[in-house]
Amino acid sequence: MKQSIKLLIALIIGLLIFNACGDLDEELYSSINSEEWYSTENECVLAMGSAYGGLRYRGTSLWGLLGLESVTTDESIIPVHTNGSYLDNDGLWRDLHKHDFSSYQQSVTDSWEFCFSTLANCNQILYQVENSPAQFDGKVGMLAELKTLRAFVLYKAVDLWGNIPINMDFEDTSLPTQYTRADAFDLVEEELLAAYPLTEAAPSSEYYGRCTRPLAFAILAKMYLNSEKWTGEARYADAIAMCDSIISKGNFQLESSHADNFIIENEGSPETIFTIPYDRVIGDFGFQMHMYTLHYAMLPKYDLTGTWCWNGISMTEAMYDSYDDADSRKAAWLIGPQFYFNGDTLMGYEGGQLTFTKTITDLDQSPEAEGVRVFKWEMNTGLSGWETMDNDFAIFRYADILLMKAEAIMRNNGSTTSSDATVLNLVNQVRERAFGDDSHNYISITLDELLAERGRELAFEEVRRQDLIRFGKWGDAWKFKPVSESYKELFPLPNNAMNANPNLQQNDGY
């Protein structure tokens, strides 16, 4: 007994001394204290990845850029189908299509979050890498790459909201001031012109999916082309020069078939300038066109029973009709009676064979099979759960650059119709690739025809909104959409961003 008392007292005193230090620092096991990172080259490289993450998540999502740049246009529509599951989100897609924008809509808030959290992330990584003790060969190139990425999201923000708050310095913790669209434009241009000499000059498998010099040229080309619309200052000659910087290097060429750009394994395509790489092994969410567009009866056909679909997004009838029947691109849009691969008929839920039709009768109560479905990207089989499709999504393609240069030349000359050989040559490269031969080439082209050609070539690739605005058609009425006022060329600033920063002024009209 005496022994155990001694032991007990020893234990008590021992524990008291041991614990009386009062050390309450938290010990992290499954995350890292960011103050302990960025000390080696490898750590810097790994941190760079987080800046690209947002692109994969919201870059192709209906609740991100796809919603703002496609659903709002005359190329796509999401009616509410009458049977079972459908994509409605309490009217969000119908409102977007009708240009009924609000600062509470999720596509608006999430796209904003994508742009600005990528910006903040880039600022932080740039700061940490610049100040890191690690010195390595690729450091300068890495900083330029991040600045290009940062400029890309700012270009998107200038396109979507125009008057945006910008902060380019991680150490500046004050509330960012709001730039006018013109000033923001200048800032982005400046950043790109400074960064591009330091970035990787040519595409390569090493730089696949990352920001390279051709990307910087492509962004600048877009900006200069839109400059008259955005800032009032026409800069079409600069746009032509930027397109030439890409074309003349000969690093890119059109794929032999349009569909080759959108197959599942579309890496290594010579046509893509900047892509968002996807792979189903990387995880959930991401590029989910299969969920947006398929009818649920089709899931077993594509071995997709472990996932969901919302029978939602379709191409509009008007856009579908604008394809000539000989146009190979028309095959990307699914219409007509559906069959299994072995030839059995595929039944719908409202009775009878599932037969897609192009006409949508009622936006609020559309029968299950109305709407041309989006099969532009080769449909993956065997996906389950929330897995993303494998197809990489091209943000910039060489075909777009060719069409842009043609447009820039026409606008530079102030013409609405052209028979200029250079212009026709550029457009016809795309046209021939689509038709397989020169039988449908243009012998002269108007701006309206150019817009329509862009629409057919680049459908659902998140460029339509920008094109419609530039060509002055954004405010027009089309089926299910009334005329919209000019202030709708900009989206409203999201409400939580306005709450967080009292310096911000909402865009006019909202």
Partner: protein
Amino acid sequence: MNLKLSKLKIILTLKFRLMMILIIAVQGFAFAQPRIITGTVIAESGEALIGVSVQIQGTTIGAITAVDGTYSIDVPPGSETLIFSFVSMETQEIAIGNQTIIDITLTESILGLEEVVVIGYGTTSRKEITGSVASVSSDEFIQGDMPSPLGAIQGKVAGLSVVSSNGSDPTSDYTVLIRGQNSLSGGRAPLIIVDGAPWGGSLSMIDPEQIKSFDILKDGSAAAIYGTRATNGVILITLKKPEQGDVKFEFSSFVSYEAVENNDRWFDADGYRDAIGTLFPDRDNLDKGASTDWMEEVSRTPINQNYNMAILGGSENLSFRANMAYKNNQGLFQENYSNVVAPSIFVTQKALNNRLTLDYKLFYSRTNSSDIPGGLFGQTIGRNPTEPIYDPTNIAGNGYYDNLMQGSRNPVAMLNESTNDRELNFINGLVNAGYEITDNLFLQFTGSYNIWMGDNGSYQTKFYPLLGKTGQASVGSWTTKSYTLEPSIRYRFSIGDNHRFNAIAGYSYNEGNSSNMSITNANFDTDKFSYHNIAAGNDLIEGLANIYTHRESNKLIAYYGRVSYNYGNKYLASASIRYEGSSRFGANNKWGSFPALSVGWRLNQESFMSGLTFLDELKIRAGVGVTGNQDIPNYQSIPRLSTRIGDSSGLFYYQGKWGNVYVPDNNPNPDLKWEKKTEYNVGIDFGLFKRISGTVDIYRRTISDLLWYYNVPVPPNVYDNVYANVGQMTNSGIEILLQGDILKTKSLNWKTILTWSKNVNIMDQLADPSRGYELEYIKYTPAATSWGQLLRQGEAVGNFWAPVYVSTEENGTTVYEDVDGDGDVDENSIEDRVLVGNERPDFEMGWQNELTYKNAFLTFSFRAVVGQYLINWERMTTESTRSLSTGYNGLRSTLDHPDYTDQSRYDTRFVEDGSYLKLDNVVLGYNMKFGQNNLRLYVSGRNLLTFTNFEGNDPEQVVPWINTDYAKFGGDNISYPYSRTFILGAKFNF
């Protein structure tokens, strides 16, 4: 060490010798010899009382009555008074005079003034308590089948709300609240302390038979000694201890079965056919030809068994209590069961002349259970009753009928084609050492260790509906450990005769650790492995298997002290303080102080009140205390980088390969601190006519520095919100407890207890613009496609706002009222919605009755919760003809509204008054005595009757607190079917 101890011994022995000399000297001067007094102590019923303490006032000389109630005590000359005391009886003081035989009848103290009440770090008597503390002892427990022992005190404590989270589901754990909800994002559960050590997890492995009493610290002044864990109140559980004496056995067991009420709210096959014949006569593909009662196919009548055996005994120096519990529960759904085996041992050892007391406790429990597949209940209840179960032509689907509808799974297939096993091992070890240095100075040391280890394994075969893979396996395990070390010192002293002080001071160290791991793999070549060869899944080869481990830890360190003052049992006071630090708080705010002060005045002890003989007790108490809440996630205050495995933004394509991404996880907040509650409580305890007693408490608590997520600009921040201490809310209320003997005769007794409580909540402040934290409102509770509840400054938490339903048009569009009259109806805006009601009740009431007639007893208890509103999820999601037209089953009430044709919408139609009155518990039984042995038989029923206007299953549901996760809406919110449990039980003590 040796030297100190031997010095102490020398001092003690010296003192002892001196005392001996003195006593002998005094004895030497006495003229008369010490005499012996004997007698018998009985209760009012004539029953002999064993264990009554007989003590000579002013001395330590005492005796205890034997089994037959007799005692014998040596009384030295000069002794004047004998004190007879016994728990739950009125203490009596008798003048000795010249008597040699003193017989006494002790009367029951209805007030239990001598009753020991456990307060933090010590005990006191009910007489002396100055805070708001309620006690429930084991003879008042509700009997029967319950998921955790907290069900035994449901409705017995005013201000304590014990509500089953999912209606009548007997396996669904309770949500326990004391005095309303006191946080927005932090935990709202009270701190649970078992035998002095924090429990830190589920109580389900403790059988109520093992519990001696619950003491609940309700107000701030009582709970403040627990510092940052005490804002939601403290529940102190005391387990039954070893007892000296002959070896005794206590055995109790019961068998119960659950009777599920027939579900008439949904269509059966015939009703469904009639309905679609009326509503959709041209849709001939909805009637699939069969008649299936899906609920019947997947469920059974659960029969549960419960056995508990305790052996106790021992000598003065070593006593023990060994316990073995076994519980076997069948769930309502087939394949669902749970078995618990829980042995425990408790040893008390005394040594060094009884100066040293050592308590050791070792408790182990193992639970083996099997879960039902997720979503089974929703799939069962909503399935078309004309669908057959099997379809022999569906060879690819193993012969189950597949309705080919999105998200729809055949429930029989779900049960048969999946396995979900779970095992939980739990160990609790406690060491309590108390050393009496002198009569008034005690040294105490408590150390406890809890560890939960859970394992689970599940497998779905390739025929599991909508799996999309050929077999999927997942295994996981989690471990939570918590240990506490608490040394303390206690000192008791008096100044003069009447000023008595009781002080304690101590140190507390608590550390918690949790870790978990999981593996998922799919696409197996064969189902024969189940989940026992998880590497064999082909997904691993393709890089699609998932593996995961995680670990967290946290620490809590504190210094605490308390002084209690008692002047002649008339004026009472108590002051305490705790200085505590938690690892969870930001670097700038790790430590905080939590003081408390309470006073009490026993008016009936005053001379000017002595005329009022009907007044047994009248005490007025008042107290104020400050507590904190550290029940928030770990690591919020530091800047973290994490990987994002499993999310498409979690990998980065670099140089032709995928690699990990390290992403800043949060906006760190080094100023993060606890939420602070300051509470004022005023109470009256009274007793009248020796038959009625009660307590009234009135309180007001202000909780400031509430933690919530506030928008911050991006950039400069990486995320658009930060977790910050900003808001403030106030809860105030009244609690009344009234108990009395309606009848008290020799053979028939009727005791009744009534509890009533009301709590009012106001959100005083939600934002702080001066610090840059703006927030106009919080919209939460996803309901159908939008938000259901709104929180704004100046309003209560828990308000349901809904658009006002007007009508449904021909084409199915729902028309809502233009509430703000601006010509445009936006049903998602606040302006076009009205406040329908609040999820918190206006008041809660409990009414217990205990009737005894000779050896028979009948207890019945009612519980009422009135004024709360609920969303009727069932009606909201299925009371529309669209439910039927899309191939699902629907509610019969749809026929009353054939105009409801829209998709599921949230509006005034579906927010209902959920007030209810339940006949919770009825027990009818008989006590039999055979000498010293005791047998008690009973039958009992739970959840027997419910009176309510709520049209759903069971209005007893808990609304999840401030749930803003819209990704979760539309989930399995259809609640458990209404069921009653019937129990047959026996208890045998010998």
